[in-house]
Structures are given as C-alpha cells and as structure tokens.
C-alpha cells in the first residue's frame, strides 16, 4: 500500500519535499500477490497479518530504499503516528498520519 510520510527540517530539505509517498507491502497483499510484490518489506511478513496495517520498521526500511538521500539521517529519527511517537514494532493503520521526526532541537 501507499503510505504518505510527513517530513520536517533536514529530512524535508534533503528530499526537497514536505511529504513523500512510499510503497509498503501489507501482509495480505504480500500473500495474494506473491512474487509480484517488490516491497522491501515482504520478508518481514508471514502469512498472517492485517492488510490494513503496516509495521513502522517497514516504513523506515521503505524510506531508506526509496529515498536514499535520507539514509544518513534516518537511524536517528523517530516515527510519529497520529501525533504520537511509536516504536519500530508498532503497526500503522491505513489512513493514519505518519510523520518522520528527526532529532528535535527546540528551546
């Protein structure tokens, strides 16, 4: 599925965009499409899972592959879903707002 990711600060500047679309496979899509899928995340899914969810770790992986200019910054970034920080194991429901949060420097 296509996931939109909001970008800020250096991430926005490195890509030249404040929002990017990435292709991330959901579990059932992978099962149905088999070898057709080119998702970088396919090996992380088994035969079970929710077609309407993707893992945060898969979003990060997809960002690394589809936007290599972010590669250096990504390891220090956090992901926020609907304005809340989430860990790599969290699953992101379809339609949720996903944001890439580089190390913050307010104050």
């Amino acid at each position: 599925m296509i996931i939109e990711v909001l970008l800020f600060a250096a991430a926005r500047e490195l890509t030249g965009r404040d929002v990017v679309e990435i292709e991330v496979a959901a579990a059932e899509q992978h099962g149905e499409r088999g070898a057709d899928t080119t998702s970088p995340c396919e090996e992380e899914y088994g035969d079970t899972g929710n077609a309407n969810c993707v893992l945060v770790s898969c979003i990060i992986k997809a960002l690394t592959q589809q936007y290599p200019e972010l590669k250096q910054l990504l390891p220090s970034c956090r992901i926020a879903v609907d304005c809340q920080y989430v860990g790599p194991d969290a699953s992101v429901p379809l339609g949720a707002e996903v944001a890439l949060i580089p190390p913050v420097s307010g104050g």
Partner: protein
Amino acid sequence: MSKECQVNAMVTEKPHLELVDGPIQMEALRPRIDHPDAGAQGWFVGVTRRTTGDLITETLYYEAHQPMAKREMMKLAQEAVKKFSLLRLVIVHRLGEVPIAEASVVIGCSSSHRPQTFAALEWIMNALKKEVPIWKREVYSDGKEEWVHPDANMDVSGASE
C-alpha cells in the same frame, strides 16, 4: 471563606500553551501564573545566542510539527504540574525567525514554595528539548546554514538554548 471556596481556589487551571509566530509578549503572560496560594513564581527565557564555539550565528529559524508539538507540550506540562505540584504553568515557543537576543521559548510557573518552581523550570526545559517536535535552523555569519539535529550522525552541530 467557606470550605468549598477554599477547595475551588486550589484547583489548578489547565497549563497555558502557545506556539507563536512573532515576538513573545512577556507582559501579557505575567498574570497567567498569579495564584493566591503561590509563594514562588519563576520564569525561564531561552534566547537566540550569537556565539557557538567559533561560529557566529546571524539568526535562527524554528519550525514545528505543530499539532504534535502542542500535544507533546501538553503531555509534559501535565506531567510537570503533577510532579512539582505547580499551581500555574505557561509554556510559549516562538516559530519562524528568532533574531539574536530575542526569546524563542518562555516557561513560567508558580508553586507554593520555591524548590518546586526551580526544579520544574529545568525539568520542563529538558523534556521540551527532548520530546517536542520543534527544530531550529542556524544561519551563520559566513553564510552557512544548517538544521540542528542533536545526536544525528550528520554534519550538524551547535545546539543553542
């Protein structure tokens, strides 16, 4: 004063939080931390500093994930009120350009005794710098510009406060 009135006077108002685009109006904020049971009021004002090591800062710009920043600010504000028994709390962060010597962040709080106020200001400021999705961009006098991303494995440095 009836017992009921006394109890009402102790009820803490919701923390006052703002993200603003222009200069922070300190005078307007001042009465917001007044409370009849407060024995201490304290303010922290973070301002744009000109020097970071050998680098001279020309100006700073801030940007935020605004809805999330407000949410994170409310989260840490509520935690601080509880942790330090604050009677009033104000947090204002400025976005956009913040020239040298002008305030980028203002935190004000009141408490019954001074130790809570002193401790709260430092705790809130540290939490804000760790959790609230706001970023600063340094513009140096030599023309170089960079986003400040502490801990990032990038060519960025020079966090100011």
